[in-house]
Symmetry: C2
Subunit: 268 residues, 2 copies
């Protein structure tokens, strides 16, 4: 279960001794980070902007203003807007690497690991609902790198967890596919359900309440109370358990037909 740190790219231009230079500034500065721009600072500001006002509010000019700088200054740290958005996706996903709950040694094998990983991704989706659709739909680097697990590191970690626990290569890949589409489908819908900030300042004023006439849709009308209920959390857990159970059944079945070729080590 070797999972190291960040993925973005090792920027060797970090101008400080970790926590030293950060002390002579409010540390939680509200908007304008005077002390010196920095790729990481730019990306984090971009995430903040999207979180607060939606993706369409992320313009080079606004991001510059947010950082107390002209837009053109950003091109030192980022090749352009598209690539800035890629960086935002990486930055948000990088939070997973720092998520203690995902990293503690799994006490119940691979199931525990997949369980923790799934909830880690869910926390990220809920923390950055305006970013998650972008995480889900940006074209991945390779066709088999499936969102929302968009980095080689996580794919490796996933496959390693399964193959070192008795899964055949084919089964591990199949599990990877099932797992990612489960995460994507559920979390995208959960995030959509919550309503994401779209463009500038949602709904101008006293909402006109676009109430549709449901008379022609009797089932929808009758089930409206059920439909409106937010069961996302429970559903996520249930579906996840269902998936893990299925994977385990398949695993056991495969062990029976092709008896254990050296029971793997439960190390780490």
């Amino acid at each position: 279960m070797d999972v190291a740190r960040s993925g973005s790219e090792d920027d060797p231009d970090t101008p400080r001794g970790r926590g030293a230079a950060a002390s002579d500034v409010p540390a939680g500065a509200p908007a304008s980070g005077r002390p010196g721009l920095d790729r990481r600072r730019v990306l984090r500001a971009a995430v903040e902007l999207i979180d607060r006002h939606g993706l369409s509010a992320l313009t080079m000019r606004r991001l510059g203003a947010h950082l107390g700088v002209e837009a053109m200054a950003l091109y030192r740290y980022v090749p352009g807007r598209e690539s800035l958005i890629d960086g935002v996706v990486e930055t948000v996903l990088d939070e997973l690497y720092g998520d203690a709950d995902v990293h503690i040694a799994p006490v119940h094998g691979w199931q525990d690991y997949l369980h923790r990983l799934a909830h880690g991704v869910r926390r990220i989706a809920l923390a950055h609902p305006a970013v998650f659709p972008t995480i889900s739909t940006r074209p991945p680097a390779a066709p088999w790198i499936r969102p929302p697990l968009r980095s080689l590191r996580w794919v490796e970690s996933f496959l390693s967890a399964l193959t070192s626990n008795g899964f055949s290569d084919e089964a591990a890949v199949a599990a990877y596919r099932a797992y990612t589409s489960f995460l994507l489908g559920h979390l995208l819908l959960e995030v959509a359900q919550r309503g994401v900030p779209i463009s500038p300042e949602d709904e101008p004023e006293g909402s006109p309440e676009v109430t549709v006439d449901l008379d022609e849709y009797p089932n929808v009308q009758r089930l409206e109370p059920h439909l409106s209920q937010d069961e996302s959390a429970a559903e996520f857990d249930e579906s996840l358990e269902t998936l893990l159970d299925r994977l385990e059944r398949d695993l056991v079945a495969s062990r029976r037909s092709r008896p254990s070729p050296t029971q793997s080590d439960p190390s780490t």
Copy 2:
């Protein structure tokens, strides 16, 4: 199984007697539709533009040019770009209403219906891969209208099919949720895997082939052949069957605990 026609909005401003005025024009005009703009024509041109060059290529000015008109003329038929995109989503989804394979009387009850519907949605996703991410992520009209089944009509049709076949209200809603997240997860990933046209003219020239060094990711490296294989179609079918089987099991189990309260009519 009552499913009527289009959903967009009943535009009463159609300036012709259906097929009469359309006869004095090539009928399959390649780009510039001289004879008179029309909301439907505008939307279809927008779909074509996205299909060919990606969402970012859809600008009011380019769409106008494509239709042989200045951009400002489009504002007669569409309130603005955002709403144009909503119209594109509706237009593409409307193809489902005309899909014969979805509409024929289901010969094997609700399972047959869900099966046909799923494949209908999949056909649409594959026919318009550049539109599907937008279908998946545009904020729905109501929180419980879940992509990719974005219209009241389909939700009604879905719920009707299940509740008239023995499903309780709760079970029907749960099935609706499971079904939509299945569709979304699978199809979004299948479409992403195929690589969608992003911005202008993919890859300028002889692709530099960004080959990543896989040495640090031994499992990924070993499984690369498996991972690269496109099993989307088979996986879609398998996962769909798994889902339908689970729904059926739950249905049977519920019948046992609460014996049939009037076996419903299999009409239409």
